[in-house]
């Protein structure tokens, strides 16, 4: 048996471990086991690669591993659950950049090779390059280093078309003259530039889609790099990650009733004009004391969290409130819209961080049929995902988007800072419903005040 055979055998075992790792993520009970299996697959792949005799110098590898591992551990332990979206965006970007560097090295050492190799190399640096800066911009928007609002300027569309056209034309040139190092570098540079312009016009609330799309790109890049350096394990893993990103993008788009092209090229927030046709009705406010009296008599409560809950860091206070409600004989559930938060599943980890058991977290489709029997629905930091206009108002920009039917509950409390509109910039007719009461103020403080009322009532 030669060493290449043994290495490939190890790669097969790694692939199986990765597949089982993902399979075990199918349930929260087995998920941690899956993560450990997957990590051992990674360890095996790294050891097999280091041992196969191709590698002759270890000093730089060691330096790279020490730097990467310590930074990775630092970030993994420091990141708060509310910051998970930007952490994920950062990881997408690093993975893509690593792929681009591997492609570049392969080109520098071996040249582009035959036509199919040149095609995969071209695809790899284009997708890799734009994923690097696209992820960087997403990271900046999510961590509020740059404005989360869509950034638009005159001639943006023209600039994008020019960039795409030049990348394509240079691509053809590169396929004809694969030895042109300058063309290679210009294509890489333009792709990196294009990544910036691809993501800056996308608004904060569309980030769940952007993150998912970038996730699939980072997988596709690993795949194309696998073709460039003829590595089967990269192709297998890249396909798994690519499929992951595609599935999540589809789920997110369905939850917003939009197409991927609409998210990427639509600049939603900028196009939609606010509808101000003089609402006759007035939103009715309620004091914390009165809200407490209603909650005290409620038999079932559904809490509907949105990104605002994460921003206000209200998750721990919410858990306290739900514990008091349960002690009071009330059934408490959480209704989670697929696009609540800034990435798929974001609300779930934020609530799990506050020790809220996962069997209380309900998906939209599971909770909606039950909403009519709910005494109180508490909307915390969510807006567009509970707007009933999505069901019936054909003129509304969010018409057709699946929503959580908060309005069907007997009473609805909306915790909100002010009457400002949500991301879509449209009035929420839920706020003017007869069964809806607004509790104005910081979400965390409001929930804490409700908890204090419960504490006082027990003495």
């Amino acid at each position: 048996m030669n060493s290449a055979f043994i290495t490939n055998l190890a790669y097969i075992i790694s692939s199986v471990l990765f597949a089982f790792g993902l399979k075990f993520l199918g349930s929260p009970v087995s998920a941690r086991r899956g993560n450990i299996l997957s990590a051992s697959g990674m360890f095996l792949a790294i050891v097999a690669t280091l041992a196969n005799g191709q590698i002759i110098s270890f000093q730089w590898i060691l330096i790279g591993i020490i730097i990467g591992a310590s930074l990775g551990a630092l970030v993994a332990f420091k990141a708060a659950m509310t910051q998970m979206p930007q952490m994920i965006a950062l990881l997408h970007g690093c993975g893509a950049l690593a792929s681009v560097f591997v492609d570049w090295t392969a080109y520098h050492v071996n040249g582009a090779g035959d036509l199919t190799n040149t095609i995969t190399l071209y695809l790899s640096i284009v997708i890799g390059g734009l994923t690097v800066t696209g992820s960087a911009i997403a990271w900046g928007k999510l961590s509020e280093k740059i404005p989360g609002k869509p950034i638009l300027f005159a001639g943006q569309r023209l600039l994008n078309i020019a960039l795409i056209a030049s990348i394509l034309i240079l691509g053809i040139l590169f396929l004809m003259h694969p030895a042109r190092y300058d063309v290679f570098l210009i294509i890489l540079g333009l792709s990196v530039l294009f990544g910036i312009f691809l993501v800056i016009p996308i608004g904060g609330a569309d980030m769940p889609v952007v993150i998912s799309v970038l996730n699939s790109y980072s997988g596709i890049v690993a795949c194309t790099t696998g073709f460039v350096i003829h590595n089967t394990l990269l192709i297998v893993v890249g396909s798994l990650v690519g499929a992951n990103g595609i599935i999540l993008s589809i789920i997110m788009c369905k939850a917003m009733n939009r197409s991927i092209t609409n998210v990427i090229f639509g600049a939603f927030g900028a196009v939609v004009k606010k509808k101000t046709d003089g609402q006759k009705k007035e939103a009715k406010a309620i004091s914390v004391e009165d809200a407490f009296l209603i909650l005290e008599n409620a038999k079932s409560v559904v809490i509907i969290p949105g990104y605002g809950l994460a921003v206000a860091q209200a998750q721990h206070a919410v858990r306290e409130l739900s514990e008091f409600l349960e002690k009071n004989g009330c059934d408490v559930k959480y209704a989670i819209h697929p696009v609540a938060g800034r990435m798929p599943g974001h609300m779930n980890v934020v609530l799990a961080e506050a020790n809220i058991p996962y069997d209380q977290l309900m998906e939209m489709d599971a909770i909606n049929p039950l909403m009519e029997n709910v005494d109180v629905a508490i909307v915390i930091g969510a807006n567009d995902v509970v707007n009933p206009a999505a069901r019936h108002d054909k003129s509304s920009p969010i018409y057709g988007m699946p929503i959580i039917n908060a309005d069907k509950a007997k009473t609805v409390f909306v915790l909100k800072r002010s009457m400002a509109t949500g991301f879509a910039g449209i009035e929420n007719e839920l706020f003017y419903d007869d069964n809806c009461r607004m509790i104005f103020g910081d979400a965390k403080q409001t929930v804490q005040a409700l908890v204090a009322e419960f504490k006082n009532s027990q003495h």
Binding site: F18, G21, L22, L25, G26, S27, P28, N35, S38, A39, A45, I46, T49, Q54, I55, I56, W60, G64, I65, I67, A69, L71, G72, A76, F77, A79, M84, M87, I88, L91, C94, G95, A98, F101, T105, A106, V109, N215, S218, T225, F227, H230, N231, L233, I235, V237, G238, S239, V241, N244, M343, P344, G345, V349, A352, E353, P357, D359, Q360, E363
Partner: protein
């Protein structure tokens, strides 16, 4: 290796990915994504070869070492943060 075999692997892996990932509940979508980031760090094996196979030019040393560092960052950061998140998911009965 012949292109056709690599394509063969590609197509079957895509099917495998769709079959496995469509079973993951929305509850775990964030850990799923960080897990995907971690396994995407598999690029580290390409980076190892880039950094260690021919240490004769400054450019390949820089590119290779940076690639190793970036990919290791993904592997370590991805797995650890996934573990941290999954540890938080508790069932009610456990309380």
């Amino acid at each position: 290796m012949e292109l056709i075999y690599l394509l063969f692997i590609l197509v079957l892996s895509i099917f495998l990915g769709f079959a496995l990932i469509s079973r993951v509940p929305p509850l775990l979508h964030t850990p799923l994504m960080s897990e995907a980031n971690a396994i995407c760090g598999i690029i580290v094996i390409g980076a190892l070869i880039a950094a260690g196979a021919q240490a004769n030019s400054t450019l390949t040393i820089i590119l290779g070492t940076s690639a190793v560092a970036l990919a290791t960052f993904n592997v370590v950061g991805g797995y650890l943060v996934t573990e941290r998140m999954l540890k938080m998911f508790k069932k009610k009965a456990a309380q």
